[in-house]
């Protein structure tokens, strides 16, 4: 079981490296947003530091959406997806691996570059730790929910619009608690309540989403 999951992970990451530029898109996207925002709303530190948590999080969400269209579709079209159901393979584990590699490409770079983003938007230094923590807990939820939407829209041609419509309402709680955590931390208060709720959402998503994704993929294969 671990062998198959490891093999899939290595192959997914190798293909991501082969695609090079395409895999860097989420990061480029993040910084385009972060550079455009001060141009749009004005470069004043007061306003920027107030909207910083929200901007970083919206950029993370959009970066995660970018790669969703290609999460399962190439595998459906070249026949590698149907091979997952040959009986001796752990489908739920494979789904988790695929969602992990999506997070690795879209979520992790955002977390790693969050300090730079925070500096660009004048986020108070004491809130930076909480911003990174909220991204660490929250971006996997984005990948999980996005993966579910990607699996459900696999049968539709050009499902990307439908995909966004499916994802946005489901990630509202994540955005509320994550940006809330950073805001209260910037005000010098404890963000523990927000982060705990975010953890609860992550647990819920990790346990339920892979089951739903596996069922949705199976429907699309038939």
């Amino acid at each position: 079981m671990w062998r198959a999951m490891g093999a899939l992970l290595m192959r997914d990451l190798r293909i991501a490296v082969r695609h090079g530029g395409e895999s860097l898109m989420p990061l480029i996207f993040l910084f385009s947003v972060l550079i455009l925002v001060p141009l749009g709303v004005g470069p004043g530190p007061t306003l920027l530091s107030a909207i910083a948590p929200g901007m970083v999080w919206v950029a993370a969400l959009l970066a995660s959406l970018l790669a969703l269209e290609h999460l399962f579709r190439p595998d459906l079209e070249d026949g590698t997806l149907e091979q997952w159901w040959l009986g001796h393979l752990p489908v739920i584990g494979l789904v988790l691996v695929r969602l992990f590699s999506h997070w690795f490409i879209t979520g992790l770079p955002v977390i790693l570059f969050a300090p730079l983003a925070a500096q660009m938007l004048y986020l108070p230094n004491e809130a930076l730790g909480i911003l990174m923590l909220s991204l660490l807990i929250g971006t996997p939820i984005l990948s999980l929910i996005g993966g579910l939407a990607a699996a459900l829209t696999l049968g539709t041609n050009r499902g990307s619009v439908l995909l966004s419509i499916l994802v946005f309402p489901l990630v509202v709680p994540v955005l509320i608690f994550a940006t809330g955590a950073v805001s209260v931390a910037a005000d010098g208060l404890s963000a523990r309540a927000h982060l705990t709720l975010l953890c609860a959402l992550l647990m819920l998503a990790v346990t339920l989403v892979p089951l739903a994704v596996a069922a949705a993929l199976k429907l699309n294969i038939e």
């Binding site: 198959a4 490891g6 192959r11 695609h19 070249d78 590698t80 149907e82 159901w85 040959l86 393979l89």
Partner: protein, 201 residues
Amino acid sequence: MTTLLKASGVSFERAGEAVFHPIDVTLEKGKALVFLGPNGCGKTTLLRLLAGILGPAVGHVERFAATAFLGHLPGLKGELTCRENLYFLRRFHGMPGLEPNRALARVGLAGLGLRPARALSAGQKRRLGLAGLLVAQRSVWLLDEPYASLDDAGGELVDELLTEHLDQGGAVGLSTHQRQPRIQHPLSNLHMDRMTHGDSD
């Protein structure tokens, strides 16, 4: 005779309509079963059902050994080289079989190990798919039109691979409408007919 795969009274429904009549299939060690019938009679569906990719609407399938399925889609990643594709399959399906370079040589693709799979011709892709069967040991082979887009030498290659697999105690289920397998092993045919609407009950 050891039974490696047994399907009893299986059928599949699309939009509430049965694709074929409930059917019994038994695949035994050292034997090949050939599914014959006109286009649209459900050969591919039946093979996918036996492989586990589809769930039967009625009846049930019991698998007593690991199964390999080779369908119309090659199941290969064009971005990866031939060798990388085979190394992946070898680890992915457990039970390692032939070493990838030797599998490539076996199917006549020696020297193409470093070529990206997308740069292969249709026939070469089929051959790479066949090499994929060799790199991971699976006793039951379910092959959907294995002779499609192969030249005469390719057809003979398929026959040789089938013979070797059956010699090693494997079982084969395959569909074809171009060429009958020319092998020494026991071969039975299963004729399927297209469903006519209204006689499903």
